[in-house]
Protein backbone atom coordinates (compact mmCIF):
# COMPACT_ATOMS: atom_id res chain seq x y z
CA UNK A 1 0.00 0.00 0.00
CA UNK A 2 1.31 3.49 -0.86
CA UNK A 3 0.15 6.43 1.21
CA UNK A 4 0.99 9.91 0.05
CA UNK A 5 1.85 12.18 2.94
CA UNK A 6 1.11 15.86 2.47
CA UNK A 7 1.55 18.85 4.73
CA UNK A 8 4.88 20.51 3.92
CA UNK A 9 3.53 23.36 1.78
CA UNK A 10 2.99 25.88 4.55
CA UNK A 11 6.37 25.15 6.10
CA UNK A 12 8.11 25.41 2.71
CA UNK A 13 6.49 28.73 2.00
CA UNK A 14 7.55 30.14 5.35
CA UNK A 15 11.05 28.71 4.93
CA UNK A 16 11.45 30.49 1.58
CA UNK A 17 10.17 33.69 3.12
CA UNK A 18 12.73 33.35 5.89
CA UNK A 19 15.42 32.64 3.27
CA UNK A 20 14.53 35.88 1.49
CA UNK A 21 14.72 37.73 4.79
CA UNK A 22 18.10 36.30 5.71
CA UNK A 23 19.43 36.92 2.23
CA UNK A 24 18.52 40.59 2.50
CA UNK A 25 19.99 40.82 5.99
CA UNK A 26 19.98 44.07 7.98
CA UNK A 27 17.59 46.42 6.16
CA UNK A 28 19.52 49.47 7.35
CA UNK A 29 22.43 48.29 5.17
CA UNK A 30 21.99 49.12 1.46
CA UNK A 31 21.18 46.12 -0.76
CA UNK A 32 23.92 44.84 -3.05
CA UNK A 33 23.66 46.12 -6.60
CA UNK A 34 24.51 43.89 -9.55
CA UNK A 35 27.18 46.41 -10.49
CA UNK A 36 28.76 45.91 -7.09
CA UNK A 37 28.71 42.12 -7.38
CA UNK A 38 29.87 42.02 -11.01
CA UNK A 39 32.40 44.81 -10.47
CA UNK A 40 33.86 44.02 -7.06
CA UNK A 41 33.33 40.27 -6.72
CA UNK A 42 34.18 39.67 -10.35
CA UNK A 43 36.16 36.49 -9.78
CA UNK A 44 33.18 34.90 -8.03
CA UNK A 45 31.07 35.94 -11.01
CA UNK A 46 33.68 34.47 -13.37
CA UNK A 47 33.59 31.16 -11.55
CA UNK A 48 29.81 31.04 -11.75
CA UNK A 49 29.94 31.71 -15.49
CA UNK A 50 32.63 29.10 -16.08
CA UNK A 51 31.01 26.29 -14.12
CA UNK A 52 27.48 27.41 -14.96
CA UNK A 53 28.72 27.12 -18.55
CA UNK A 54 27.03 30.35 -19.61
CA UNK A 55 28.91 33.58 -20.24
CA UNK A 56 26.71 36.38 -18.90
CA UNK A 57 28.21 38.54 -16.12
CA UNK A 58 24.94 40.29 -15.17
CA UNK A 59 23.07 37.04 -14.84
CA UNK A 60 25.89 35.42 -12.89
CA UNK A 61 25.94 38.44 -10.54
CA UNK A 62 22.20 37.98 -9.98
CA UNK A 63 22.77 34.31 -9.25
CA UNK A 64 25.53 35.11 -6.74
CA UNK A 65 23.23 37.54 -4.97
CA UNK A 66 20.26 35.18 -5.03
CA UNK A 67 22.35 32.32 -3.65
CA UNK A 68 23.73 34.47 -0.78
CA UNK A 69 27.23 33.86 -2.15
CA UNK A 70 26.87 30.08 -2.29
CA UNK A 71 28.66 29.68 -5.61
CA UNK A 72 27.59 26.10 -6.31
CA UNK A 73 23.98 27.17 -5.74
CA UNK A 74 24.60 30.11 -8.10
CA UNK A 75 26.08 27.74 -10.69
CA UNK A 76 22.98 25.57 -10.34
CA UNK A 77 20.77 28.62 -11.04
CA UNK A 78 22.76 29.48 -14.16
CA UNK A 79 22.61 25.88 -15.41
CA UNK A 80 18.85 25.87 -14.93
CA UNK A 81 18.51 29.16 -16.79
CA UNK A 82 20.67 28.08 -19.71
CA UNK A 83 18.41 25.10 -20.38
CA UNK A 84 15.60 27.57 -21.12
CA UNK A 85 17.55 29.35 -23.86
CA UNK A 86 17.13 28.38 -27.50
CA UNK A 87 20.49 27.65 -29.16
CA UNK A 88 21.06 30.01 -32.08
CA UNK A 89 24.28 28.37 -33.24
CA UNK A 90 27.95 28.10 -32.43
CA UNK A 91 30.73 30.67 -32.63
CA UNK A 92 33.85 30.21 -34.66
CA UNK A 93 36.58 28.80 -32.40
CA UNK A 94 38.06 31.69 -30.40
CA UNK A 95 41.50 32.85 -31.51
CA UNK A 96 43.49 32.87 -28.30
CA UNK A 97 46.63 33.82 -30.23
CA UNK A 98 44.90 37.14 -31.00
CA UNK A 99 43.80 37.66 -27.39
CA UNK A 100 43.88 41.22 -26.06
CA UNK A 101 46.24 40.37 -23.27
CA UNK A 102 45.54 41.42 -19.66
CA UNK A 103 48.04 39.03 -18.12
CA UNK A 104 50.54 36.66 -19.62
CA UNK A 105 53.34 34.80 -17.94
CA UNK A 106 55.57 31.91 -18.88
CA UNK A 107 57.45 29.79 -16.36
CA UNK A 108 59.59 28.20 -19.07
CA UNK A 109 61.08 31.20 -20.88
CA UNK A 110 62.21 34.33 -19.11
CA UNK A 111 62.60 36.26 -22.34
CA UNK A 112 59.50 35.01 -24.11
CA UNK A 113 58.67 37.13 -27.20
CA UNK A 114 56.00 39.61 -26.13
CA UNK A 115 57.31 39.53 -22.58
CA UNK A 116 55.98 38.72 -19.16
CA UNK A 117 52.95 40.83 -18.28
CA UNK A 118 51.81 40.36 -14.69
CA UNK A 119 48.40 42.03 -14.97
CA UNK A 120 46.03 42.16 -11.99
CA UNK A 121 47.46 39.21 -10.07
CA UNK A 122 47.38 38.04 -6.45
CA UNK A 123 50.88 36.61 -6.99
CA UNK A 124 53.61 38.30 -4.95
CA UNK A 125 51.07 39.81 -2.53
CA UNK A 126 51.87 39.00 1.08
CA UNK A 127 48.49 37.45 1.80
CA UNK A 128 48.03 39.72 4.77
CA UNK A 129 44.53 41.06 5.39
CA UNK A 130 44.56 44.72 4.38
CA UNK A 131 42.93 46.95 7.02
CA UNK A 132 41.84 49.28 4.20
CA UNK A 133 39.38 46.60 3.11
CA UNK A 134 37.26 47.49 6.15
CA UNK A 135 36.60 50.94 4.71
CA UNK A 136 36.13 52.72 1.42
CA UNK A 137 39.51 54.25 0.82
CA UNK A 138 40.38 55.94 -2.46
CA UNK A 139 42.13 53.59 -4.87
CA UNK A 140 44.57 54.81 -7.50
CA UNK A 141 43.90 53.79 -11.10
CA UNK A 142 46.27 51.37 -12.78
CA UNK A 143 49.49 52.88 -14.10
CA UNK A 144 49.85 53.37 -17.86
CA UNK A 145 52.85 52.65 -20.02
CA UNK A 146 53.09 53.36 -23.70
CA UNK A 147 53.17 50.34 -25.96
CA UNK A 148 56.44 49.74 -27.76
CA UNK A 149 55.22 49.17 -31.29
CA UNK A 150 52.65 46.58 -32.31
CA UNK A 151 52.29 44.12 -29.50
CA UNK A 152 52.49 40.48 -30.53
CA UNK A 153 52.25 37.65 -28.03
CA UNK A 154 53.01 34.38 -29.79
CA UNK A 155 51.94 31.26 -27.93
CA UNK A 156 54.87 29.66 -26.20
CA UNK A 157 53.91 26.35 -27.76
CA UNK A 158 54.36 27.88 -31.22
CA UNK A 159 57.86 28.93 -30.22
CA UNK A 160 58.78 25.39 -29.14
CA UNK A 161 57.11 24.06 -32.27
CA UNK A 162 59.68 25.87 -34.40
CA UNK A 163 62.30 23.44 -33.16
CA UNK A 164 59.99 20.42 -33.22
CA UNK A 165 60.48 20.10 -29.47
CA UNK A 166 56.80 19.80 -28.63
CA UNK A 167 53.81 18.00 -30.02
CA UNK A 168 52.04 20.39 -32.41
CA UNK A 169 48.34 21.23 -32.60
CA UNK A 170 46.64 19.27 -35.31
CA UNK A 171 44.34 21.81 -36.94
CA UNK A 172 40.99 20.55 -38.12
CA UNK A 173 37.41 21.65 -38.38
CA UNK A 174 35.73 18.45 -37.24
CA UNK A 175 32.37 19.14 -35.61
CA UNK A 176 33.00 18.67 -31.87
CA UNK A 177 30.84 16.51 -29.61
CA UNK A 178 28.52 18.29 -27.20
CA UNK A 179 27.82 16.76 -23.81
CA UNK A 180 24.81 19.04 -23.32
CA UNK A 181 23.14 17.35 -26.27
CA UNK A 182 24.37 13.76 -26.27
CA UNK A 183 24.95 11.39 -23.34
CA UNK A 184 28.66 10.93 -22.66
CA UNK A 185 30.04 7.51 -23.58
CA UNK A 186 33.48 6.13 -22.80
CA UNK A 187 36.09 6.37 -24.08
CA UNK A 188 35.32 10.06 -24.64
CA UNK A 189 37.17 12.17 -27.21
CA UNK A 190 39.46 14.95 -26.04
CA UNK A 191 36.90 17.51 -27.28
CA UNK A 192 34.27 16.15 -24.88
CA UNK A 193 36.78 15.82 -22.05
CA UNK A 194 37.79 19.47 -22.42
CA UNK A 195 34.14 20.56 -22.49
CA UNK A 196 33.49 18.62 -19.29
CA UNK A 197 36.62 20.00 -17.61
CA UNK A 198 35.84 23.59 -18.67
CA UNK A 199 32.54 23.41 -16.74
CA UNK A 200 33.88 21.09 -14.03
CA UNK A 201 34.25 22.01 -10.38
CA UNK A 202 37.34 24.09 -9.70
CA UNK A 203 37.99 22.46 -6.33
CA UNK A 204 37.67 18.94 -7.71
CA UNK A 205 39.97 19.65 -10.66
CA UNK A 206 42.42 21.48 -8.41
CA UNK A 207 42.71 18.45 -6.15
CA UNK A 208 43.06 16.07 -9.07
CA UNK A 209 45.71 18.28 -10.64
CA UNK A 210 47.49 18.40 -7.29
CA UNK A 211 47.33 14.61 -7.06
CA UNK A 212 49.21 14.32 -10.38
CA UNK A 213 51.96 16.54 -8.99
CA UNK A 214 52.22 14.37 -5.90
CA UNK A 215 52.79 11.24 -7.93
CA UNK A 216 49.34 9.90 -8.73
CA UNK A 217 49.74 9.92 -12.51
CA UNK A 218 52.87 12.00 -12.59
CA UNK A 219 53.35 14.19 -15.66
CA UNK A 220 56.20 16.50 -14.58
CA UNK A 221 54.61 19.72 -15.82
CA UNK A 222 55.81 23.26 -16.50
CA UNK A 223 53.54 26.22 -17.15
CA UNK A 224 54.52 27.02 -20.72
CA UNK A 225 52.19 29.94 -20.58
CA UNK A 226 49.13 31.35 -18.84
CA UNK A 227 47.30 34.15 -20.58
CA UNK A 228 44.19 36.07 -19.57
CA UNK A 229 42.41 38.56 -21.78
CA UNK A 230 39.61 39.34 -24.16
CA UNK A 231 38.81 37.38 -27.29
CA UNK A 232 36.27 38.33 -29.93
CA UNK A 233 33.32 36.06 -30.54
CA UNK A 234 32.46 35.67 -34.19
CA UNK A 235 29.43 33.89 -35.53
CA UNK A 236 28.50 33.09 -39.09
CA UNK A 237 25.17 34.62 -39.97
CA UNK A 238 23.67 32.63 -42.84
CA UNK A 239 21.34 35.56 -43.54
CA UNK A 240 24.33 37.78 -44.24
CA UNK A 241 26.80 35.34 -45.71
CA UNK A 242 29.63 36.52 -43.47
CA UNK A 243 30.73 36.25 -39.85
CA UNK A 244 29.96 39.08 -37.46
CA UNK A 245 31.64 40.00 -34.23
CA UNK A 246 29.03 39.77 -31.47
CA UNK A 247 31.22 41.02 -28.65
CA UNK A 248 34.24 40.01 -26.60
CA UNK A 249 34.57 37.67 -23.62
CA UNK A 250 37.33 37.25 -21.08
CA UNK A 251 39.00 33.85 -20.96
CA UNK A 252 42.01 32.27 -19.27
CA UNK A 253 44.20 29.87 -21.21
CA UNK A 254 46.92 27.60 -19.85
CA UNK A 255 49.48 25.71 -21.91
CA UNK A 256 51.01 23.09 -19.66
CA UNK A 257 54.18 21.54 -21.01
CA UNK A 258 54.79 18.02 -19.76
CA UNK A 259 57.72 15.71 -19.91
CA UNK A 260 58.69 14.19 -23.20
CA UNK A 261 57.54 11.04 -24.78
CA UNK A 262 59.35 9.57 -27.38
CA UNK A 263 60.78 7.90 -30.32
CA UNK A 264 58.94 7.07 -33.49
CA UNK A 265 59.36 9.24 -36.53
CA UNK A 266 59.20 12.48 -34.53
CA UNK A 267 61.79 11.71 -31.88
CA UNK A 268 61.27 12.57 -28.24
CA UNK A 269 59.32 15.74 -27.60
CA UNK A 270 57.33 17.52 -24.92
CA UNK A 271 53.69 16.60 -24.50
CA UNK A 272 50.97 19.06 -23.57
CA UNK A 273 47.93 19.66 -21.46
CA UNK A 274 45.45 22.40 -22.27
CA UNK A 275 43.16 24.56 -20.19
CA UNK A 276 40.64 27.17 -21.33
CA UNK A 277 38.11 28.73 -18.98
CA UNK A 278 35.57 31.56 -19.06
CA UNK A 279 36.66 34.60 -17.09
CA UNK A 280 39.81 35.20 -15.09
CA UNK A 281 40.68 31.93 -13.37
CA UNK A 282 44.20 30.72 -13.76
CA UNK A 283 43.90 28.22 -10.90
CA UNK A 284 41.10 26.50 -12.80
CA UNK A 285 42.83 26.75 -16.19
CA UNK A 286 46.05 25.30 -14.74
CA UNK A 287 44.23 22.48 -12.94
CA UNK A 288 42.29 21.75 -16.13
CA UNK A 289 45.47 21.50 -18.17
CA UNK A 290 47.05 19.11 -15.65
CA UNK A 291 44.00 16.86 -15.71
CA UNK A 292 43.71 17.10 -19.51
CA UNK A 293 47.29 15.87 -19.78
CA UNK A 294 46.73 13.08 -17.25
CA UNK A 295 43.64 11.92 -19.15
CA UNK A 296 45.73 11.47 -22.29
CA UNK A 297 47.48 8.47 -20.71
CA UNK A 298 46.35 6.04 -23.41
CA UNK A 299 47.66 8.29 -26.20
CA UNK A 300 51.15 8.07 -24.73
CA UNK A 301 51.02 4.42 -23.65
CA UNK A 302 51.07 5.35 -19.98
CA UNK A 303 49.56 2.97 -17.44
CA UNK A 304 46.30 4.30 -16.09
CA UNK A 305 46.96 3.85 -12.40
CA UNK A 306 45.75 7.10 -10.80
CA UNK A 307 42.31 8.71 -10.41
CA UNK A 308 43.29 11.71 -12.59
CA UNK A 309 44.04 9.34 -15.48
CA UNK A 310 40.68 7.58 -15.26
CA UNK A 311 38.36 9.45 -17.59
CA UNK A 312 35.22 7.72 -16.40
CA UNK A 313 36.04 8.66 -12.82
CA UNK A 314 36.97 12.25 -13.70
CA UNK A 315 34.18 13.03 -16.14
CA UNK A 316 31.50 11.36 -14.05
CA UNK A 317 32.41 13.30 -10.92
CA UNK A 318 33.74 16.70 -11.99
CA UNK A 319 30.34 18.33 -12.43
CA UNK A 320 29.38 20.01 -9.18
CA UNK A 321 25.72 20.40 -10.10
CA UNK A 322 25.38 16.67 -10.62
CA UNK A 323 27.45 15.99 -7.52
CA UNK A 324 25.53 18.34 -5.27
CA UNK A 325 22.24 17.01 -6.61
CA UNK A 326 23.06 13.45 -5.71
CA UNK A 327 24.71 14.18 -2.38
CA UNK A 328 22.12 16.71 -1.24
CA UNK A 329 19.12 14.65 -2.27
CA UNK A 330 19.93 12.42 0.68
CA UNK A 331 18.39 15.00 3.02
CA UNK A 332 15.03 14.85 1.26
CA UNK A 333 12.36 12.55 2.72
CA UNK A 334 13.32 8.89 2.36
CA UNK A 335 10.67 7.77 4.88
CA UNK A 336 9.40 4.84 2.82
CA UNK A 337 12.87 3.58 1.79
CA UNK A 338 14.00 3.82 5.38
CA UNK A 339 10.86 2.03 6.64
CA UNK A 340 11.66 -0.83 4.28
CA UNK A 341 15.22 -0.97 5.62
CA UNK A 342 13.89 -0.97 9.18
CA UNK A 343 11.52 -3.85 8.44
CA UNK A 344 14.32 -5.84 6.87
CA UNK A 345 16.66 -5.15 9.77
CA UNK A 346 14.04 -6.16 12.35
CA UNK A 347 13.45 -9.41 10.48
CA UNK A 348 17.20 -10.12 10.37
CA UNK A 349 17.46 -9.44 14.08
CA UNK A 350 14.51 -11.75 14.85
CA UNK A 351 16.18 -14.51 12.84
CA UNK A 352 19.52 -13.84 14.52
CA UNK A 353 17.91 -13.93 17.98
CA UNK A 354 16.06 -17.14 17.17
CA UNK A 355 19.26 -18.75 15.92
CA UNK A 356 21.23 -17.61 18.98
CA UNK A 357 18.56 -18.93 21.35
CA UNK A 358 18.46 -22.25 19.50
CA UNK A 359 22.26 -22.56 19.70
CA UNK A 360 22.30 -21.73 23.42
CA UNK A 361 19.63 -24.32 24.01
CA UNK A 362 21.65 -26.87 22.07
CA UNK A 363 24.81 -26.09 24.02
CA UNK A 364 23.00 -26.28 27.34
CA UNK A 365 21.45 -29.57 26.32
CA UNK A 366 24.92 -30.86 25.40
CA UNK A 367 26.50 -29.87 28.70
Amino acid sequence: MYVAVKGGEAAIEKAHRLLADRRRGDRSVPALSLEQVAGQLSLAVDRVMAEGSLYDPDLAAMAVRQSRGDLIEAIFLIRAYRTTLPRFGATRPVETAAMRIERRVSATYKDIPGGQLLGPTFDYTHRLIDPDMAGDHPVAPGALREMAGDAAYPRVTDILNDEGLIEPDVASDVEPGDLTRDPTGFPAGRDLRLQALARGDEGFLLSLGYSTQRGYGRTHPFVGEVRIGLVDLEIDLPELGFAVNIGAIRVTECQMVSQFKGGGENGPRFTRGYGLVFGQSERKAMAMSLVDRALRADEFDENRVAPAQDEEFVLSHCDNVEATGFVEHLKLPHYVDFQAELDLLRMLRREHAAKTTAETDRQEAAE
Binding site: P93, G115, Q116, L117, L118, M147
Partner: protein, 153 residues
Protein backbone atom coordinates in the same frame (compact mmCIF):
# COMPACT_ATOMS: atom_id res chain seq x y z
CA UNK B 1 41.78 50.76 -36.90
CA UNK B 2 43.84 49.66 -39.87
CA UNK B 3 42.43 46.13 -39.83
CA UNK B 4 38.88 47.35 -39.28
CA UNK B 5 39.14 49.72 -42.24
CA UNK B 6 39.67 46.82 -44.60
CA UNK B 7 36.48 45.04 -43.58
CA UNK B 8 33.51 45.19 -45.93
CA UNK B 9 31.20 48.01 -44.92
CA UNK B 10 28.27 46.11 -43.49
CA UNK B 11 30.37 43.82 -41.34
CA UNK B 12 32.45 46.74 -40.15
CA UNK B 13 29.29 48.58 -39.07
CA UNK B 14 27.77 45.56 -37.32
CA UNK B 15 31.02 44.83 -35.49
CA UNK B 16 31.35 48.45 -34.42
CA UNK B 17 27.77 48.72 -33.21
CA UNK B 18 28.12 45.47 -31.22
CA UNK B 19 30.99 47.04 -29.30
CA UNK B 20 29.18 50.34 -28.64
CA UNK B 21 27.87 50.94 -25.10
CA UNK B 22 24.06 50.63 -25.16
CA UNK B 23 23.50 54.06 -23.63
CA UNK B 24 25.49 55.90 -26.28
CA UNK B 25 24.01 53.82 -29.08
CA UNK B 26 20.55 54.62 -27.79
CA UNK B 27 21.25 58.38 -27.86
CA UNK B 28 22.60 58.29 -31.41
CA UNK B 29 19.87 55.95 -32.56
CA UNK B 30 17.15 58.19 -31.12
CA UNK B 31 18.17 61.09 -33.32
CA UNK B 32 18.39 58.94 -36.44
CA UNK B 33 15.19 56.96 -35.83
CA UNK B 34 13.18 60.17 -35.36
CA UNK B 35 13.73 61.05 -39.01
CA UNK B 36 14.27 57.64 -40.60
CA UNK B 37 11.82 55.08 -42.03
CA UNK B 38 10.42 52.86 -39.30
CA UNK B 39 11.46 49.27 -38.70
CA UNK B 40 8.95 46.45 -39.06
CA UNK B 41 9.82 43.56 -36.73
CA UNK B 42 10.46 40.32 -38.60
CA UNK B 43 12.03 38.17 -35.90
CA UNK B 44 12.64 38.92 -32.25
CA UNK B 45 14.30 40.63 -30.55
CA UNK B 46 14.80 37.34 -28.75
CA UNK B 47 17.25 36.02 -26.19
CA UNK B 48 19.06 32.76 -26.78
CA UNK B 49 22.49 31.21 -26.50
CA UNK B 50 25.38 30.44 -28.77
CA UNK B 51 27.89 27.71 -28.06
CA UNK B 52 31.34 29.28 -27.68
CA UNK B 53 34.07 27.13 -29.15
CA UNK B 54 37.75 26.90 -28.49
CA UNK B 55 40.46 24.84 -30.13
CA UNK B 56 42.24 21.93 -28.47
CA UNK B 57 45.68 23.23 -27.52
CA UNK B 58 44.70 26.65 -28.88
CA UNK B 59 45.18 25.70 -32.52
CA UNK B 60 43.79 22.17 -32.93
CA UNK B 61 40.34 20.71 -33.46
CA UNK B 62 37.36 22.66 -32.08
CA UNK B 63 35.71 21.84 -28.76
CA UNK B 64 32.69 23.30 -27.00
CA UNK B 65 33.83 25.62 -24.22
CA UNK B 66 30.43 26.72 -22.93
CA UNK B 67 27.54 28.90 -23.99
CA UNK B 68 27.07 32.66 -24.00
CA UNK B 69 23.77 34.48 -23.89
CA UNK B 70 22.98 36.50 -27.00
CA UNK B 71 20.13 38.56 -28.37
CA UNK B 72 19.15 38.64 -31.98
CA UNK B 73 16.71 40.68 -33.99
CA UNK B 74 15.66 41.03 -37.61
CA UNK B 75 13.69 43.97 -38.94
CA UNK B 76 12.55 45.18 -42.33
CA UNK B 77 12.00 48.60 -43.81
CA UNK B 78 8.91 49.42 -45.89
CA UNK B 79 11.25 49.71 -48.85
CA UNK B 80 12.31 46.06 -48.36
CA UNK B 81 15.80 46.25 -46.80
CA UNK B 82 16.26 43.63 -44.08
CA UNK B 83 18.49 44.35 -41.08
CA UNK B 84 20.01 41.79 -38.73
CA UNK B 85 21.65 41.97 -35.34
CA UNK B 86 23.13 39.41 -32.99
CA UNK B 87 24.84 40.65 -29.86
CA UNK B 88 26.40 39.21 -26.74
CA UNK B 89 24.16 39.72 -23.70
CA UNK B 90 20.45 40.12 -23.12
CA UNK B 91 19.74 43.67 -24.26
CA UNK B 92 16.60 43.36 -26.41
CA UNK B 93 16.43 47.05 -27.19
CA UNK B 94 20.04 47.25 -28.33
CA UNK B 95 19.52 44.32 -30.71
CA UNK B 96 16.45 45.98 -32.17
CA UNK B 97 18.29 49.28 -32.65
CA UNK B 98 21.28 47.62 -34.31
CA UNK B 99 19.03 45.63 -36.66
CA UNK B 100 17.21 48.84 -37.62
CA UNK B 101 20.49 50.67 -38.23
CA UNK B 102 21.74 47.69 -40.25
CA UNK B 103 18.67 47.94 -42.48
CA UNK B 104 18.98 51.72 -42.78
CA UNK B 105 22.68 51.39 -43.57
CA UNK B 106 21.76 49.66 -46.83
CA UNK B 107 20.02 52.82 -48.03
CA UNK B 108 22.41 55.26 -49.64
CA UNK B 109 20.87 58.32 -48.00
CA UNK B 110 21.25 56.88 -44.49
CA UNK B 111 24.57 55.08 -44.81
CA UNK B 112 26.75 58.21 -44.38
CA UNK B 113 24.66 59.39 -41.41
CA UNK B 114 25.05 56.08 -39.63
CA UNK B 115 28.73 55.96 -40.48
CA UNK B 116 29.32 59.44 -39.05
CA UNK B 117 27.03 59.32 -36.01
CA UNK B 118 27.29 55.71 -34.92
CA UNK B 119 29.98 53.60 -36.57
CA UNK B 120 32.88 56.05 -36.51
CA UNK B 121 32.36 57.10 -32.86
CA UNK B 122 31.90 53.45 -31.85
CA UNK B 123 35.19 52.51 -33.48
CA UNK B 124 36.95 55.45 -31.86
CA UNK B 125 35.64 54.52 -28.43
CA UNK B 126 36.59 50.87 -28.86
CA UNK B 127 40.07 51.76 -30.08
CA UNK B 128 40.58 54.10 -27.11
CA UNK B 129 39.30 51.49 -24.64
CA UNK B 130 41.60 48.83 -26.10
CA UNK B 131 44.52 51.21 -26.04
CA UNK B 132 43.94 52.08 -22.41
CA UNK B 133 43.62 48.45 -21.33
CA UNK B 134 46.72 47.55 -23.29
CA UNK B 135 48.69 50.36 -21.65
CA UNK B 136 47.48 49.32 -18.19
CA UNK B 137 48.73 45.80 -18.91
CA UNK B 138 51.95 47.12 -20.43
CA UNK B 139 52.71 48.92 -17.15
CA UNK B 140 52.89 45.50 -15.47
CA UNK B 141 55.57 44.23 -17.87
CA UNK B 142 58.58 42.68 -16.15
CA UNK B 143 61.84 44.32 -17.21
CA UNK B 144 64.46 41.77 -16.26
CA UNK B 145 67.93 43.01 -15.51
CA UNK B 146 71.09 41.27 -14.47
CA UNK B 147 73.20 42.47 -11.62
CA UNK B 148 76.89 42.73 -12.41
CA UNK B 149 78.66 40.66 -9.81
CA UNK B 150 81.97 41.65 -8.22
CA UNK B 151 84.02 38.75 -9.50
CA UNK B 152 83.29 39.73 -13.13
CA UNK B 153 85.14 42.99 -12.79
Amino acid sequence: MSRADKKPGRKRSLDAMASMPAQLLSERYGTIAAAAPRAIPVRGPEIGAVMVRGRIGGGGAPFNLGEASVTRATVKLDSGEVGHAILLGRDLEKARMVAHLDALGQRTEWQPVIEADVVAPALLLETAARQRRAEETEATRVDFFTLVRGEDR
